[in-house]
């Protein structure tokens, strides 16, 4: 397996008023293509920050982040937006579906940025909604779905553009055990059957067990193998 993600000596600090709050310091990490990695660690350890840097929704204070051959830490906002649209799928803890759009429309959103025809978009959306088991719920609005179903729609939205990397931030954090299991099974399936590289941040050791590898972050440093 070739390396898909390379994080080199990355540091990230936030500023609150005049106080600098270091979150990550000189962190290096590499993730191979097809990997399903779980990032664990206590609150404030920098898991989500690292995930955001890899996904290109935040920029490091120093260091390099290279994903799929592109050094994203150097890209401007506009280029980064395009890059994200083409390469990354996101799954959030609170699903973050657009409440006024149906499941179909939510999943279709990333495809609106592509040149696909309406018919092709429909085909893609229906395919992924079937994969996540919601083929019969395409016209449902988020409020008409359960938490687990909402998260499955979010996963469908994340994979509909066939991204090289799927990042999931606490994808089971807001779900009951059964729903969480379903989501993890789905992620496993996406990794195994569709060879999706997945980086998942989680607090939950049971969720982490489903990943192929687990890395621990503590106070901004990776610990253990």
């Amino acid at each position: 397996m070739t390396e898909l993600i390379q994080v080199d000596n990355v540091s990230k600090s936030y500023w609150r008023d005049s106080f600098e709050i270091p979150v990550l310091s000189n962190l290096s990490l590499s993730v191979k293509k097809g990997e399903f990695m779980a990032l664990m660690g206590p609150s404030g350890s920098g898991k989500t920050t690292l995930l955001n840097l890899i996904a290109g929704i935040d920029k490091p204070t120093s260091g390099k982040v290279i994903v799929a051959g592109t050094e994203i830490s150097n890209l401007g906002e506009s280029a980064l937006a395009k890059w994200r649209a083409n390469n990354i799928g996101f799954v959030f803890q609170f699903y973050n579906l657009i409440p006024v759009l149906t499941a179909f429309e939510n999943v279709e959103l990333p495809l609106l940025l592509t040149k696909l025809s309406k018919a092709d978009r429909k085909k893609h959306v229906e395919t992924v909604l079937n994969i996540v088991g919601l083929g019969s719920h395409i016209q449902h609005y988020p409020k008409q779905l359960s938490g687990g179903q909402e998260q499955r729609v979010a996963i469908a939205r994340a994979v509909v553009t066939d991204p090289v990397l799927l990042v999931a931030d606490e994808p089971t954090g807001d779900l009951d055990k059964n729903s969480a299991d379903e989501i993890l099974t789905l992620l496993e399936r996406l990794n195994k059957e569709f060879n999706k590289t997945i980086m998942m941040v989680t607090h939950d050791p049971h969720a982490a067990e489903r990943a192929r590898s687990v890395r621990h972050l503590e106070k901004g440093d990776l610990v253990g193998a």
Partner: protein
């Protein structure tokens, strides 16, 4: 198409809030249209003034009269084509609320200097022939259902007593800016009675209407006319009809200026109301906009979403407002004393201004939420708690 659908769905998220905002814009546009109509109607009386006419009035004030004998002197001023005169009569026709201009005029010349008052030669001849006849504007005829041959009786106030007239003609306006709400009758009819009842008031006219050949020589001719009567008991002030009308209108200038300011202030207030709605909406959707950015939607897309929603609301409110302005202005026209305004209609300019104001409101209201949304970083957006 999808984006339009999303804009529409966003706009309808808080139906009550959106409806109230649209209602606010609608009311503002109606108020703007109504106030602007009053202002433009007022101004258009000045615009309608002819450049080829001068008005010679008493130098102190137009409420004072001038001797009838001035006519012969004015006609001999080089460049003067015709001289006519008029006298404000006042009086009451049936009811005090029936307001329209009633004037004693020089019947031989009035229609020569006022060519925008269209009258048939037969009616004009009949009018000239009969001393107690009158001619009325078509609007007056329509409003009070008066026909040629009918009698009109005025109860005099400036010229006390009962005054009976026979309608011998109805003039039509040349264009929509022409005042078709005047009643014109023989100055001699009034003057003869004054000679008997109040001799001291006889032989006077209100103002002279001087038709000139070349409008470019208006200033020179005016000076020449005024020079004729310098140091006399009744010095004159001659000015273009436009300046005269402006002076007349300017007595109401403060009210008009206030109405003008008010019409724009209303637009300003509603801009802030919509801006507030849009700021609230954008604030509530901070996380959603972060999602959009995460998915790869650009600055351009987000600007389009917010601006589109703001414009949709303002267009809708503006559209309803403009559509309702027409019947409301018509109702307003019915409600005000008849003849108070010689004509009352919405100028196309007012509609264009109202529509432009609606667009401006939409754009202005979107500026702050767009700025805020674009400035908010994705990670900050996800952390935002509304």
């Amino acid at each position: 198409m999808k984006v339009l659908k999303l804009i529409l769905k966003n706009a309808l998220r808080h139906k009550l809030r959106t409806s109230l905002t649209i209602l606010g814009i609608t009311i503002a546009v109606i108020a703007f249209g109504l106030l602007r109509t009053v202002v433009t109607v007022w101004d258009s009386s000045v615009d309608a003034a002819s450049a080829k006419r001068l008005i010679t009035r008493q130098a102190v004030s137009f409420i004072f009269t001038l001797p009838y004998s001035y006519k012969e002197k004015i006609i001999n001023v080089p460049g003067v084509q015709t001289v006519s005169f008029a006298n404000w009569f006042g009086g009451v026709y049936k009811d005090k609320n029936n307001f329209f201009a009633r004037m004693a005029v020089d019947v031989e010349t009035i229609f020569d200097v006022m060519p925008e008052f269209l009258i048939s030669p037969e009616e004009l001849a009949a009018f000239k022939k009969e001393r107690n006849s009158c001619v009325i504007g078509s609007e007056i005829a329509k409003q009070y259902n008066i026909k040629v041959g009918d009698q009109m009786t005025l109860e005099g106030d400036i010229y006390p007593g009962r005054w009976d007239f026979i309608v011998r003609g109805i003039y039509r306006p040349q264009n929509k800016n022409t005042d078709a709400t005047q009643m014109l009758f023989h100055w001699q009819y009034v003057d003869e009675r004054m000679k008997i009842e109040t001799p001291v008031r006889a032989g006077n006219v209100g103002w002279y209407i001087v038709a000139i050949k070349d409008p470019n020589k208006a200033a020179v001719i005016s000076d020449q006319i005024d020079a004729l009567f310098k140091n006399s008991a009744a010095e004159t002030k001659t000015e273009t009809e436009k300046a005269f009308t402006q002076g007349f209108v300017s007595s109401s200038g403060a009210i008009i200026t206030a109405m003008n300011c008010m019409s724009f202030m209303i637009i300003g207030i509603i801009m802030l109301v919509l801006a507030n709605t849009m700021i609230m909406a954008a604030r509530e959707r901070t996380r959603e906009y972060a999602v959009f950015k995460t998915l790869g939607f650009s600055t351009y897309h987000l600007t389009g979403l917010i601006l589109g929603e703001s414009l949709l609301i303002s267009f809708f409110g503006g559209g309803i407002g403009i559509a309702l302005t027409y019947p409301i202005v018509a109702a307003f026209e019915q409600a005000i004393p008849k003849g108070f305004f010689p004509f009352f209609f919405i100028e196309p300019k007012t509609t264009i201004m109202a529509l432009s104001a609606a667009i401006l409101i939409g754009i202005f209201a979107a500026i702050f939420p767009i700025q805020r949304t674009l400035k908010t970083k994705i990670v900050e957006g996800f952390r935002f708690v509304g």
